[in-house]
């Protein structure tokens, strides 16, 4: 098991007004993401607790690409990971931002 935080900058604030959203389930090969609108407008962060140690470099690459791709300013993403592959992580992160854009 491994825990770490990945910080990032966003060019703009994430859309929508929803305060929080939960997506996914921590199951084998999957993950849950709790998104909370708690950071400053140009900050973003992914907090990871993962069952599979030794992939921090991959997580960092995914997170930085995600910050660039989605510009999730103001959002903190807390992840409980059950060994999801990077593609699943990226898909869920992008989906979670879309959820925050929806009306509560």
């Amino acid at each position: 098991m491994e825990q770490f935080q990945l910080q990032g900058k966003a060019v703009r604030r994430a859309g929508g007004t929803r305060r929080q959203a939960l997506t996914g389930v921590n199951a084998s090969g999957n993950l849950e993401i709790l998104v909370e609108r708690v950071l400053a407008d140009h900050e973003c962060m992914v907090e990871v607790t993962t069952a599979v140690a030794g992939f921090r470099g991959t997580w960092d690459a995914v997170a930085q690409d995600f910050f660039t791709r989605a510009s999730p300013g103001g959002l903190r993403f807390s992840i409980n990971d059950g060994g999801a592959r990077p593609d699943t992580v990226m898909l869920r992160l992008l989906q979670s931002v879309r959820l925050m854009e929806r009306e509560p």
């Binding site: 599979v52 992939f55 991959t58 690459a61 995914v62 060994g83 592959r85 990077p86 593609d87 699943t88 898909l91 992008l94 989906q95 879309r98 959820l99």
Partner: protein, 596 residues
Amino acid sequence: MRSGKFCVGSEKPDRRSRYRSTRDDTQSGAREEGGTNRDPAPFSGPSLIMNGWNRQKQDRDARLGAAATSASRKIVAADQAKALLEAVIRPGDRVCLEGDNQKQADFLAECLAAVDPQRIHDLHIVQSGLVLQAHIDLFEKGIARKLDFSYSGPQGAAIARALTGGRIELGAIHTYIELFARYFVDLTPHVALIAAVEADHAGNLYTGPNTEDTPTIVEATAFKSGIVIAQVNRIVDTLPRVDIPGDRVDFVIQVDRPFYVEPLFTRDPAAITETQILMAMMAIKGIYAEYGVTRLNHGIGFPTAAIELLLPTYGETLGLKGRIATHWALNPHPTLIPAIESGWVQQVHCFGSEVGMDNYMSARPDVFFTGHDGTLRSNRLLCQTAGLYACDMFIGSTLQVDLMGNSSTVTTGRIAGFGGAPNMGSDARGRRHPSPAWLKAGREAVDEPTTLTRGRKLVVQILETFGDKMTPNFVETLDAVAMAKDLHFELAPVMIYGDDVTHIVTEEGIANLLLCRGPGEREQAIRGVAGYTEVGRGRDPVAAEDLRRRGIIRRPEDLGIDLLAVSRQLLAARSIEDLARWSGGLYRPPSRFRNW
């Protein structure tokens, strides 16, 4: 006989010498027993004259004579099967024990594995699939020694062990058509052991929906003085239809259990992931629609199962019904049922059947090939040929892709074989008829197409960037290369060669290799869809963005696919039960796939 592609290499002199000495023993033994060796005798005058032109017929009569003690008629009791095999098979024979990735002559396989190795040994097994434990036992016991095959699936690891241990002397690993072709040139069986559903008293056979390899094996054996023995589930007075005429069958054995059929093409929709759905959506929108692919074959992976289940939903919303995926060379995938029921599919020709699908296909004769008796007629050779020549696209999953786009399903310690995928997944250089999809693909591959520019088959590899346990599916070098070195193969087993691949689809996007100019671009296009694997992270970001601008790499957003729409709700069936319902109760899945 070291002409096979995957010969045991010459780097181990000890094995080579043993190989030579046993082979020589067999040949001389065979001559003494009346010339079982069907290889043309060396042109040495006297022996040719002595044997005349009818040696094979005489040999056949001798064997039938030997069988007379255990079988006086065509119908042989099951408890006499072993004695029959010991009577008609000679050491060193080439034997085809019918079995592929679906159907198995499993009773006869067990009988052959139980013969006395003192009497029958050093057989040369020439068959599609080495799948059953009994198949491996033949080699472990020394009953068989040499092997030419196509597919091994579950026995991949056992074959690798037997090869390493020197118990299997490998000729070559083939594709299905390739092995069938050799049945008629240099691998003609002396004895074929086949399976059918029913026989009549004259030995006519009804193979049922799982006809598969049987006609091809019987053709090669019966018309070259070989002996054909069939296991059947029942002997009846009148057959529903005749799949194999009785004069090609020498012995029939009724067995008290049906021959085994593996439900290999049943994919449970419950196991399809959102990532696979995303890839399927990209493939439909970015390839099927763009090229207008109407004639095609699908592999057996979950991404292609997802495509089948998205046709009546996502495909419908794109207005593609009737414009894509109308004519298929395909096994009866249960996941195709919703598309068939929604009117998407005009015609399907099958390699084999699929467990539980028989009643459904009988009730849909406009779609499937059926006999006048109403049941499916499959044929592996003809369907493989259809997939090679009459389809504009093959799309299938693989386990590993390298920087040139070569792909392999070999993983460390397993020899899974090829089956039919390379026949589907290769450009047919002998094709001459045009179609819009074929021409468009061909023209994309050159800068200034003319009327002399031939078309190309679309060969699409669809795979996630990572496999189980974070194993990268994109690699610098295929595992198959290391395995070929370990086992002294002259040729690494490549499932689909990179120069045949036209597109690679991953969750990150589609790489169109047709549009790439030169190996450098090709490598960057592959890296550009390889996600967070080492290969993917080794991309040149500037080059990847340039390829994207030129439409060589296309991301989901480039194709207008909304990630929130990527949902299992899009699947026309989300469980095996849904499939059974779509079929109106005609599809009867095996118990292990049920969840009700």
